[in-house]
Amino acid sequence: MKFLKQGWLVLVLATVFGVGLAAVDRALGPKIAENQKNETFGQIANLVPGGSAADTKEEIVAGQTVLKVYDARNRHVGWVITASGMGYADAIKALLGLNADATKITGIYILDQKETPNLGSKITTDWNKQYVGKNVLPPLTVVKTQPTKENEIEAISGATISSTSLTDIVNKAAETFAKNLAAETK
């Protein structure tokens, strides 16, 4: 009884606030999930050339939820997969567009990053167009000078770690998915 006398206000408030928050989440949860989905679907046309967001379907390949991208005439043109891993400051989350047999990168979009503003955060700019058109294998490497080989990416000056982190994330996600896809279709 002594505890109730002391703590009743905390208990009452916790209950009231808990119910209130549940209500807020119920009201706003679907809208937030929709925002996130819209962001992903809004990028499909940029990630896979000819891709149509309306005709794209979610599919599970080796336990990973990916988007199977079709064009307007219902031909399978590519895939959108999520790639994430540790960057310089925090986790980087990206969307990766691949062609139909997952051998070529057709697009990249950074969903979430907290790299240093104006340095590492340049991974969200046109700098990342370097990845577009690259082959999944051999793995991409980062160089600090003008790239000479097909699989080389030029680092952002002042943000080598962000550049290599993103490249590793892209390599790992693309290779894993290509391997899984080959195993499933065999």
């Binding site: 002391q6 703590g7 206000l9 905390v10 408030l13 916790a14 606030f17 209130g20 928050l21 807020v24 989440d25 706003l28 949860g29 809208k31 937030i32 925002n35 996130q36 962001e39 979430d112 907290k114 240093t116 503003p117 104006n118 340095l119």
Partner: protein, 214 residues
């Protein structure tokens, strides 16, 4: 009648004489972290203001039931609830801004400005005084963030509220850019100079008053 400053005095004190950023030196985390651009600074000021006003109202309403040794717990519980609401609302209706501010919205919970106002004003005075105090301090906090963000955004990108300053030729971020101001050192430098200027003006005004009285 409750003792302590009157509602209007609380309101005015929050804006200038006891400005949260320049006089109370509270809420330094958002002051340094989200003032790289006006847009993010004003979103933060609005979210903090919402939490502060709601927390002050609830605290003032339950102030007679508060147990002294449990009061901080109740404050944090109240603040955390409204911060979560603010975070969800931003994620639902201002998705881009919510992504940009990242962890700083949840971090409003540990903004000591809010717990300070609950402790100093709302837990001792009535609801009306608490509202005036919260609004005053919110405006003061917004003023503090705005002053920081104005200096930093103009120096770093040549724009203000994403509006390009006409006397700085070129696209924002291209021809005129002092990248340091968008980075953490720029925040510390700006805060140092603005605090110094604030203190200097405050001293000068106090000196003038003294001279008039003599």
């Amino acid at each position: 009648m409750s003792d302590g400053p009157a509602p209007l005095e609380r309101f005015w004190n929050g804006i200038l004489p006891e400005n949260p950023v320049y006089r109370q030196i509270l809420g330094m985390c958002p002051t340094l972290a989200v003032t790289a651009t006006m847009k993010s600074a004003m979103t933060m000021a609005a979210a903090t203001g919402f939490v502060l006003i709601c927390a002050n109202i609830i605290t003032a309403m339950i102030r007679n039931q508060l147990k002294a040794h449990l009061r901080i717990l109740v404050f944090v519980l109240t603040i955390a609830t409204f911060v979560t609401i603010a975070d969800r609302v931003l994620a639902a209706y201002m998705y881009d801004m919510s992504k940009q501010l990242g962890p700083y919205i949840p971090l409003i919970i540990v903004n000591c400005l809010i717990i300070c106002r609950c402790e100093v004003c709302a837990s001792k005075q009535g609801v009306w005084t608490a509202i005036c105090d919260a609004v005053g301090n919110s405006l003061g906090f917004a003023l503090g963030l705005a002053s920081m963000a104005t200096v930093r955004e103009i120096l770093a990108t040549g724009s203000w509220f994403d509006i390009h300053m006409f006397w700085l030729a070129g696209t924002p971020g291209e021809k005129f850019r002092w990248a340091l101001m968008a980075l953490p050192p720029g925040a510390f430098l700006t805060l140092g100079f603005l605090l110094g200027a604030g203190n200097w003006i405050g001293d000068a005004m106090a000196g003038k008053k003294k001279a008039q009285a003599a």
